[in-house]
């Protein structure tokens, strides 16, 4: 029994102080919330009455995260709950920029690639006199490494027609690529790098291998040497390529996961329909990553409703025949300004299923399948709130909260020591145990889960001091009762704790219940508060059982504790020692 008590006590102290020391040594600190740092908070919600799938919402969050990360915002906080996405951008001042950044459409667009893709490495902008030209001088194979070339193909999954003719006509003709640069003035001049990137071949599944290899070799030789890096297509003030999608015009768009930019035409919409025909809605949402002949790929069915299949076949025929609308024969699948894949069309007609094959890894194939699924039922977000928090207020608030919080806790401790004497000291030590434990957990979650400590969180913790202290008070008052009724100190401590523990558990469970309800049913600041309430309640129970109990029980066995003065009970009241 005694050994177990000591062991429990040691573990919790080591856990708390050790965790604290570890967090301190590794320099992990709790991230500060928006109200403490200043910045901009943007809230979006799914348009009421529109259909969406959880997957498409999750993907929207993922997209927002990508975009926010690309901006280099330190410690962005992206919270999604139910149909709401809150993005907190600490340190960001330009409101419009923030709003643009987080407004993702979730719309997947089918846009023909109309020229050669370019490798653009972010470098000092060189003299951009090289007009995009057909790459002619094969030079070092340096581009081979820079250009990840999952050669992708689209093939009808149902027809097993071995269409060997599908010579991947991926290498874009010089003409179109020049014309883009000419017409689209926003696109800076680029060295022409034929689309080795996601080089796209449309072959029937059976023949892709050969077709692929051809493509790859062709493009590689082509692209080498032409990767004259100039500045990216359009840069914002942070040097990040602008990724705003313009579905009605020609533009350069980045290929996912690369520094390659492809010129794409307007989203397929010959009839000028609204919404745009050539969207992810031509597919059903049954896209899955599957092992095809050439390795991992994606299979998906066409959507019979809404003219999905006929739209797709129009595109397929245009690209297969490399008409003016789709001169490269490749089709870009775009999501929010990023080309997810740009396979070339291997078949002019698809009856039901579509295969996208190429040198995918399993993860890449799954990601593409997810994109296609979300595009089949895109989530429509509505801007609900934009709020900027002035950072100067934040700084002042933080200092004030910390100082006054510490002062308050100190007052409480003084009161406890005055009232309970030695037992008050136990409260003081216990509070440091709880405090370090909470700090370590918050720091850890802040690093791993992106949890940010907000003002309401800090205040919640300070207030929870009251609850924590109460656990001690309940215990000590019980202890006094037991002692007064004439029990030995040892028995009193044991019984007092058993009784107090019951009250503590009931009361704490109610707090925990509250925290859970708030966590699941509210958004924003209240939710952050709920987290800290739950955390401090759990800590309270843990510390009461593993720190306070063993400490008092162990002390109660010493003769020293028999001098009742140490706990603020007069010996006369308590009767003689038993």
């Amino acid at each position: 029994m005694r050994r177990r008590l000591i062991l429990t006590l040691l573990s919790i102290v080591v856990l708390a102080y050790g965790g604290f020391a570890a967090v301190m040594l590794t320099g992990t600190e709790p991230a500060l919330g928006l109200d403490l740092q200043g910045g901009i908070s943007v809230t979006q919600r799914v348009k009421p009455g529109t259909e969406y799938s959880d997957a498409s919402l999750a993907l929207a969050v993922e997209r927002i995260r990508d975009r926010v990360d690309s901006l280099g915002v330190a410690e962005p906080e992206i919270l999604s709950q139910g149909d709401t996405i809150v993005v907190n951008l600490p340190g960001v001042k330009n409101q419009q920029q923030a709003v643009d950044l987080v407004q993702v459409t979730g719309r997947v667009l089918l846009r023909p690639v109309i020229g050669d893709c370019q490798e653009v490495t972010p470098q000092e902008p060189t003299d951009s006199t090289d007009v995009p030209s057909d790459s002619t001088t094969p030079s070092s194979g340096s581009t081979d490494t820079t250009v990840p070339a999952p050669s992708t193909t689209v093939a009808p999954s149902t027809t097993a027609s071995t269409d060997t003719t599908v010579a991947p006509s991926t290498t874009g003709a010089p003409g179109p690529s020049r014309s883009i640069t000419a017409t689209d003035t926003t696109v800076p001049l680029l060295g022409a790098a034929p689309t080795s990137v996601a080089d796209t071949t449309t072959t029937a599944a059976a023949t892709t291998t050969t077709a692929d290899s051809t493509t790859t070799t062709t493009t590689t030789s082509d692209s080498t040497g032409t990767t004259t890096t100039t500045e990216p297509p359009v840069l914002d003030e942070n040097g990040i390529p602008v990724q705003e999608s313009d579905p009605y015009g020609q533009q350069y768009l980045q290929v996912k996961g690369t520094n390659v930019y492809c010129p794409v035409g307007p989203a397929w919409n010959p009839d000028g329909a609204d919404p745009i025909e050539g969207s992810g809605e031509v597919f059903t949402d049954n896209a899955v990553a599957a092992v095809l002949d050439t390795g991992w790929g994606v299979t998906v069915d066409l959507n019979d409703g809404n003219g999905g299949r006929s739209t797709w076949n129009e595109i397929a025929s245009a690209c297969y025949n490399q008409t003016d609308q789709c001169p490269s024969g490749q089709l870009a699948i775009e999501l929010d300004g990023i080309i997810q894949s740009n396979p070339s069309m291997n078949e002019p007609f698809f009856s039901g299923g579509v295969q996208i094959s190429g040198q995918f890894t399993q993860a890449e194939a799954s990601a593409l399948a997810e994109v296609i699924n979300s595009g089949s039922l895109p989530v429509q977000l509505k801007l609900e709130a934009v709020q900027s928090v002035s950072p100067s207020l934040g700084e002042g608030s933080l200092r004030a909260a910390l100082l006054s919080g510490l002062a308050g806790v100190l007052l409480v401790l003084l009161f406890m020591i005055a009232y309970y004497r030695l037992l008050g000291l136990i409260v003081a030590i216990g509070l440091t145990v709880s405090g370090t434990l909470i700090y370590a957990v918050v720091s850890l979650l802040s690093r791993t889960q992106g949890l940010a400590l907000s003002l309401s969180g800090i205040a919640g913790i300070i207030v929870s001091v009251g609850v924590t202290v109460d656990s001690y008070v309940v215990f000590f008052e019980r202890l006094k009762d037991e002692v007064k009724s004439g029990k030995t100190m040892r028995n009193s401590a044991q019984r007092g704790f058993t009784n107090a523990w019951r009250a503590i558990v009931v009361a704490d469970l109610v707090s925990l219940l509250g925290a859970l309800v708030l966590w699941y049913l509210t958004v924003g600041a209240v939710r952050g508060f709920a987290f800290f309430l739950g955390l401090s309640t759990l800590t309270d129970m843990l510390v009461a059982y593993t720190f306070t109990r063993p400490t008092v029980l162990l002390l109660s066995r010493t003769t020293w504790m028999e001098r009742r003065k140490v706990m603020g009970i007069e010996a006369a009241t308590a009767g003689g020692t038993a």
Partner: protein
């Protein structure tokens, strides 16, 4: 256990009477008849509730942008007048009659700025007006900070908060019914509603702005008030079990329990109020953090009503409900006061004046056992030795 008896015989009221009120409080020797004075607390609460309702109808609540929805522009300017700001609104096609325009002077720098608040506007219009203001005072558009919340969003966070509150109350009621008693669940919920109502009343009466921080603070308080109430109820439940053998009015059980946990309640409330006072006085008063003031104010209001309601609302309510039940009905109106209550608080057994209604021989035995230690008397008949914990 029998060895303890001799040591504790000195527990008699006479010994205690030499202490002053504070001393008695410190040593847990109070004998306040909470139940007998229940109408004082209940009347006070009813009065406060009436004030709340009147105030709500008269002036309503000063809800912040987050709940109402709308747009706020904050324009850093020394010269722009309020009238000119309204004109700019009109120029952009916004009805300025409902606009709220006020001057703000920064506490840190003394810089003046103008805050213009109107109802929900489309995003494009918000930016257009932002540019117009910026042009007017000659700054770049980004220097005019704006906040906007759509009214649907404002409604939805309000309804979400309310829904959370209702779900919470239902769950708490179920939980207390399960762990304690349904009567206690009822009383705890009434006390909680009471706390919310009074806090809302204070905010309405003084026109304080209700922000999300306020809501968070209220929720903290609800949790805390409930916590407080439950600790009291836990003691009541325990004492009810102790007295189950003898026929004691529920009011006595309650009074005894309340006096026994009084010190704990006071200590806990003090421990909770101290940090909040520190936030309010030091944090927002001396250090000037406005956000903290809203927060601390709500906390303080809530803490005070919370502590008050667990003692003066929740507990008497339990007794009043309980007394209507058959088990306690016959004993209504016969609760102990004064020295008799004091004796009970310190573990004395029910006095002989209720001998007539006592029916079980066990109780008779216990009643005559004046030499028994209070601890033993309070519990049931002595348990068989083998079941006892080692002493």
């Amino acid at each position: 256990m029998s060895t303890d008896v001799d040591d504790t015989i000195q527990h008699e009221p006479a010994v205690r009477s030499r202490r002053g009120p504070l001393g008695r409080l410190y040593h847990g020797e109070t004998a306040i008849d909470f139940y007998g004075r229940r109408w004082i607390g209940i009347s006070a609460s009813i009065l406060l509730l009436v004030v709340t309702v009147v105030s709500l109808f008269a002036s309503g609540l000063n809800l912040s942008l987050d709940f109402k929805g709308g747009v706020v522009w904050e324009i850093p300017t020394e010269t722009l007048t309020q009238d000119r700001a309204r004109e700019i609104l009109e120029e952009n096609g916004i009805d300025s009659s409902n606009a709220k325009v006020q001057e703000l002077i920064s506490q840190d720098t003394g810089a003046r700025s103008l805050e213009v608040q109107v109802g929900d506007q489309p995003d494009e219009l918000r930016q257009q007006v932002q540019r117009a203001f910026a042009e007017e005072v000659g700054v770049v558009a980004e220097d005019v900070s704006t906040n906007s919340v759509s009214s649907t969003w404002g409604r939805s966070i309000t309804s979400k908060a309310l829904r959370a509150l209702v779900v919470f109350m239902v769950l708490v009621a179920l939980f207390i019914s399960w762990r304690l008693e349904w009567e206690m669940a009822f009383a705890a919920i009434v006390a909680m509603v009471h706390d919310v109502a009074i806090s809302v009343g204070v905010y309405s009466l003084f026109g304080f702005e209700v922000t999300p921080a306020t809501v968070v603070a209220f929720l903290t308080i609800l949790g805390f008030s409930l916590y407080d109430t439950i600790v009291v109820f836990d003691k009541v439940k325990e004492n009810e079990g102790r007295y189950s053998g003898s026929r004691v009015p529920y009011a006595d059980v309650l009074n005894v329990s309340m006096n026994q946990v009084l010190m704990r309640s006071l200590n806990t409330s003090l421990a909770a109020v101290l940090p909040v006072l520190s936030l309010l006085v030091l944090g927002s008063g001396v250090l000037g953090a406005v956000t903290l003031r809203e927060f601390a104010l709500a906390l303080l209001v809530g803490l005070l009503t919370g502590s008050y309601s667990s003692v003066f609302i929740a507990s008497p309510l339990v007794a009043m409900v309980k007394e209507r039940q058959p088990r306690f009905k016959t004993l209504r109106g016969r609760h102990a006061t004064g020295p008799e209550l004091e004796r009970l608080v310190h573990g004395g057994l029910p006095s002989a004046r209720r001998e007539g209604v006592r029916s079980r021989p066990v109780d008779e035995a216990a009643a005559s056992g004046a030499e028994l230690s209070p601890a033993e008397v309070l519990t049931h008949t002595p348990r068989p030795r083998k079941k006892r914990r080692r002493a």
